[in-house]
Symmetry: C2
Subunit: 365 residues, 2 copies
């Protein structure tokens, strides 16, 4: 049995306590001989800053580069609101994405039947919802230069960020979206603001060409990102795969996640390109939710998104489809048994903490 | 009685037919001696391009500059999808905003009681919703330079847009938001992505200072724009006034409008700074909805957002508070009588077309 290197980066806030439940499942797989994982643990975000003044140390970056997959919790919190921009908690996450070249961010927005009632949307609007947002993750306004604040004198400053996309960046994220659409509803909706942004014009042009030349069997639609946001709220089931840039993807995937009423449940995968020789791709898995500092350390956080991120990791990084299926089934079985953490609690269910939820899922696994 | 110069720019699609209903109301006010308007009509968007190859002609720009207020319908449609970027329909709208220096875009998101059922959100989430989005309209990624596509050779291109804000731009939009909050719930939520964008860092810094130094009586909160989008979907009533930049404002105001289920009802105002001598401010009023090419020309479009834009114009540009109140009441009375256009139709109501809805509102006015 091949041994895989897994790096755990719990980060800050509820990242820490939810990662504990993942550790228990990984140990179980090792002990039972279901898989062989060598795990290491590193610091990222505010906790890394506290330890060594950087949002991620060179040593832990090296661990990430050498691992077969990274499991990431969450970063940030009011404690670090005042730290310098370059070492703020988010800088650790952004560096991981950029240095590992994880350009494809897969964010499924699925409405768990047991949780449809938790959505602020009407039942019929979200029941059975299953869409996938494919967000470009290493380009756009997140990384473009110049990115700076200049002092103009007279008490005036100028803040600048640069949105930039090159053809190859749009092509490769487009291909990821089209490939995934073929395994699902065979439909891709590309979103940009081509009516205002030149990068949007290029985005639209490249997507159209890739669709026509390489994926003529997949239906391709285009929407302006603002209309796309509206349509997500109006009738999200019209979508199958949505492909969009880093910044629009940030907003739209969060909105899509919130629609489902299952925010605490949703995992995501960030993938690099397959290595030319080994075919292996760098990958990082993380919950869509953030570090939730308001409830951190209380043992009440929902560990499901973190555990579901492990399932995604088993599936996408190691091809352990059966184990991934089992883990996902353990999650839904536990929900069907009526166990709920506070964030998804509803009448008639049984409220449990992080540990108890994790243990219940492990017991069903 | 002072005579005011009103420029009507119906634009494209349903802009044309809904503006007809505004014309009828303006004529009525003139005839009854309620007000004295001198109206002119111009072309903008695709219709301007068809007439003279530009999204707005110099002559009609001049009319706009000389008028006391502009009423704008909507622009765009698939017919003009292939026209060059510089003369695409939206360029007309963007030029009006920029050349008239209309930096403050006020977008109320109100849930009309008669229409709460039309929302995709649960009744209790949107019932009675009344928030105001204040969007910066002449800066940011919409206008920053460079904004270009460069050919890099090898089949590669690079698309660039520039997000830029200076201190004074943030200050003045902040002041508009704080002033308006004082007339409402006394609360401002500022949204940006300071964890990723330098312009967001500056935005946050300036808002905080303006709030502390000039409006310490108004509660100021900050939210990351992605969380803000989630919170809008989760529980929109937590907000009073939201202030944000051009691009985030574009997305978030559309989402807020869609939440209400009243998209066809919502007007907006775009205001400039008061003139140093006359105290007058340039202003343009337009529906939040777009040109809806799919239903254009069929006489079924909802004219209410356009008529409500006239009401906003009476209120903000001419201080005709009583007339504005009357017109808004005429709208709600007509809705209470059970009249509905197709987009807001529900069981038990009576479906009417654009003309009939306009006439009914005029009759109640
Ligand atoms: C934490 C932050 C930098 C990050 C982002 O903006 O990408 C987060 O919002 C996300 O969506 O993963
Ligand atoms: C038509 C388009 C240029 C415009 C914008 O992006 O500002 C529209 O979406 C709006 O919100 O008024």
């Amino acid at each position: 049995m091949t041994t895989h290197k897994l790096l755990l980066l719990p980060g800050d806030g509820i990242g820490v306590e939810t990662m504990e439940e993942v550790k228990a499942i990984v140990s179980f797989m090792n002990e039972e001989g279901l898989a062989s994982f060598e795990t290491e643990e590193g610091l990222v975000g505010g906790s890394a800053y506290d330890a060594h003044g950087k949002a991620i140390s060179e040593e832990h970056m090296k661990l990430a580069t050498e691992s077969d997959a990274v499991l990431f919790g969450a970063v940030g919190g009011p404690k670090w609101d005042g730290v310098p921009y370059e070492v703020r908690p988010e800088a650790g996450l952004l560096r991981l994405r950029k240095d590992l070249a994880l350009f494809a961010n897969l964010r499924p927005a699925i409405c768990y039947p047991a949780l449809a009632a938790a959505s602020s949307l009407k039942h019929e609007v979200v029941e059975g919802l299953d869409i996938l947002i494919v967000r470009e993750l290493t380009g756009g306004v997140y990384f473009g230069e110049p990115k700076e604040i200049t002092d103009l004198g007279n008490g005036q400053k100028r803040g600048v960020d640069t949105q930039v996309y090159e053809t190859y960046e749009i092509e490769r994220i487009g291909r990821v979206a089209f490939e995934l659409a073929r395994t699902r509803g065979n439909k891709v909706t590309s979103m940009e603001k081509r009516n205002v942004m030149k990068s949007g014009v290029l985005w639209n042009e490249v997507m159209t060409r890739v669709g026509r030349e390489e994926y003529s069997d997949v239906k391709l639609d285009h929407m302006l990102a603002d209309s796309g946001g509206m349509q997500l709220v109006r009738w999200p089931k019209q979508f199958d795969v949505i492909v969009t840039d880093n910044l629009f993807g940030d907003l739209l995937s969060d909105i899509a996640a919130m629609l489902t009423g299952s925010l605490g449940m949703l995992p995501s995968a960030s993938l690099g390109a397959p290595d030319e020789r080994s075919g292996k791709r760098k990958a990082m898995y993380e919950p869509v939710h953030g570090s939730a500092p308001d409830i951190a350390g209380q043992g009440i956080a929902n560990p499901i998104a973190m555990i579901a991120s492990l399932a995604m990791c088993l599936r996408y990084s190691f091809g352990m489809v059966e184990l991934a299926d089992r883990l996902e089934k353990a999650i839904s079985d536990t929900l069907n048994d009526g166990l709920r953490t506070k964030d998804i609690m509803s009448e008639g269910a049984r409220e449990v903490g992080t540990r108890e939820m994790g243990a219940a899922i492990l017991a069903k696994f």
